[in-house]
């Protein structure tokens, strides 16, 4: 079912969750954006298939 796209993306200030390369977070912070860097490690003990299943379950 298609839901109308949320156009707040182009209107509201970006508030960013950065998952991965920390340099991106530093660049965004330097531009005055609010950024939270996730201290990411591979989930599900590094099992990508299990991580995929868990994300579908909302975990």
């Amino acid at each position: 079912m298609k839901k109308e796209i949320d156009d707040g993306l182009l209107r509201d200030p970006l508030c960013v969750v950065n998952v991965g390369l920390e340099g991106f977070a530093a660049d965004l912070e330097a531009q005055g954006l609010t950024v939270t860097q996730v201290d990411w490690t591979p989930p599900a003990g590094g099992d990508a298939r299990l991580a995929d299943i868990l994300s579908k379950l909302g975990t």
């Binding site: 796209i5 993306l9 182009l10 201290d39």
Partner: protein, 495 residues
């Protein structure tokens, strides 16, 4: 004496790929080490390590979430020392991470809990995990940009369907460039704000068009990256369609530019219908595509430069630039060698040379170009293609990727002109002009023609980069398309 290979696997240990590349380079610099890499153990990374001859049975058994250290050295002592050094670097890095820092969430869920205003996730984890992280972000109401590549196309299509259901945008996977609300994201340029909205399946294509518009009196409302495969049959243009919905409703956007490789006929028809439904004038640049009929509100162009000019209302970019007048006689043979860091810049240069009646060969050929083995053809090489960047940084970040090809071109008597691109902006190398000049090591002995994609507001400042190049005798054209035209003028002024 035969080489010694040692591997070590650290289970569930993650560091980002840029940090790991830096660490790997410090291992390669050690005495007695032939080759070394530290990579996450995804199947594609393990293949790269196997191809480099640094993987043994220990490394082969690693999983995507494990970190693999692979070293090939002249002897056991050198290998052991390098492994010890690798462990020490990793230990330092872990200690630095946990040392006196503020609390960091360990998951998207806890990040959103800690920052309830979050509306956007930028994801650059290894491709095997990118979709699951993106899905977590979508389900928490965030729009998503996926920088990661190596994501199966079926997973991309399924994720984008889910995004549509949630009313959220997914840019990517393999989306390197976007500008939202005036903020450059990942590899993008600091461009003035204005009324042109850009939708692009190509990172450097977006960078060239937005920079040319910004540097020539216009500005960008938003630039939405869709990922290189969005307009493929397998994905069907989900993000492109949503981007049109967004920019159509955005009061700041008065003109929309669409940039992509030529899509399939079925997806092209869908895109043309969507353009026809837009209330705004559109410029369509399918680089290397054939002529197509478009609705009355749209204009087709064949180059990135023409796309920028059309979005600027027809004003000419690089007024006064005359390739014939600026041509430096070529020295050597009758061929151009193009060495590009931007894939779409390589494609655009092919289009320019083809339009002038020249035969072109490329490792990333557009329709009408042959392969690199094409006889009597100018060779235009995309150095950002997988075959040059597997296990190495992209040439925009690490210009040394161009060194071998540059040395070969300088020493090749059949080549009369060398054509290059320099791409500036966030994420890119901090001084690509300085690096290039050092690589050339004085006089090149033949004309070197360059273009500089970027703006005055970029961290590297475009005019400063151009001044360095010109001081070193490199001719700089106003755009990538102009640089290709100038290269040809140099050859023709010789004959």
């Amino acid at each position: 004496m035969s080489a010694v290979i040692v591997n070590e696997v650290l289970r569930g240990f993650y560091l980002d790929s840029v940090a790991l590349l830096r660490m790997s380079q410090s291992l390669v610099a050690l005495d007695g080490v032939d080759e070394a890499a530290m990579m996450m153990g995804s199947p594609s990374n393990r293949q790269i390590m196997a191809d480099a001859g640094i993987l043994d049975a220990t490394g082969e058994a690693a999983e995507a979430g494990d970190l693999v250290i692979g070293i090939r050295a002249d002897n056991q002592d050198a290998a052991d020392l390098a492994l010890k050094e690798a462990r020490a670097i990793l230990e330092q890095s872990s200690a630095a991470k946990g040392d006196g820092e503020v609390w960091r969430p360990r998951s998207v869920r806890s990040a959103v809990k800690a920052m309830p205003d979050a509306n956007f996730a930028l994801i650059s984890v290894p491709g095997d995990f990118a979709i699951s992280e993106a899905r977590k972000a979508l389900r928490r109401g965030l729009h998503v940009m996926i920088f990661s590549d190596n994501v199966p196309v079926a997973d991309e299509a399924a994720l984008k369907q889910e995004a549509l259901d949630h009313g959220r945008l997914v840019m990517g996977p393999d989306c390197g460039t976007a500008i939202i609300n005036g903020k450059p994201l990942a590899f993008a340029n600091a461009v003035a704000r204005g009324s042109v909205g850009v939708i692009g399946a190509s990172g450097t294509g977006i960078q060239e068009v937005t920079s040319l518009i910004g540097e020539n009196g216009g500005g960008i409302s938003h630039a939405i990256g869709v990922g290189g495969r969005d307009l493929s049959d397998a994905v069907g243009g989900f993000t492109t369609m949503m981007a049109f919905d967004l920019l159509d409703r955005d009061p700041a956007t008065e003109h929309i530019v669409l940039i992509s490789k030529p899509p399939s006929a079925a997806v092209a028809a869908k895109v043309v219908d969507r353009i026809g439904a837009s209330s705004k004038p559109c410029t369509v640049c399918f680089v290397g595509g054939s002529e197509m009929s478009l609705p009355a509100n749209a204009t087709a162009v064949t180059t990135l430069k023409a796309a920028a000019e059309n979005a600027l209302g027809g004003s000419a970019i690089g007024a006064g630039f005359d390739p014939a007048a600026m041509a430096v006689p070529a020295s050597g043979g009758p061929m151009i060698r193009g060495l590009f860091s931007g894939g779409t810049l390589c494609a655009e240069a092919q289009v320019v040379l083809q339009a002038a009646g020249e035969a072109v060969g490329s490792n990333a050929p557009v329709p009408g170009s042959g392969g690199l083995d094409s006889k009597g053809a100018h060779q235009l090489i995309d150095l950002g293609a997988d075959e040059y960047t597997q296990g190495r940084p992209h040439p925009m970040i690490e210009p040394s990727v161009r060194d071998d090809a540059l040395t070969a071109a300088l020493g090749d008597d059949s080549i009369g002109v060398i054509l290059l691109d320099l791409v500036l902006g966030f994420g890119a190398h901090d001084d690509p002009a300085g690096y290039l000049i050092r690589s050339l090591g004085g006089s090149a002995g033949k004309p070197v023609i360059a273009s500089v994609t970027g703006t005055e507001q970029d961290p590297q400042r475009r005019s400063a980069q151009i001044a360095k190049l010109e001081d070193a005798g490199i001719t700089v054209a106003p755009s990538n398309a102009d640089a290709a035209a100038l290269s040809l003028a140099c050859l023709r002024s010789t004959t």
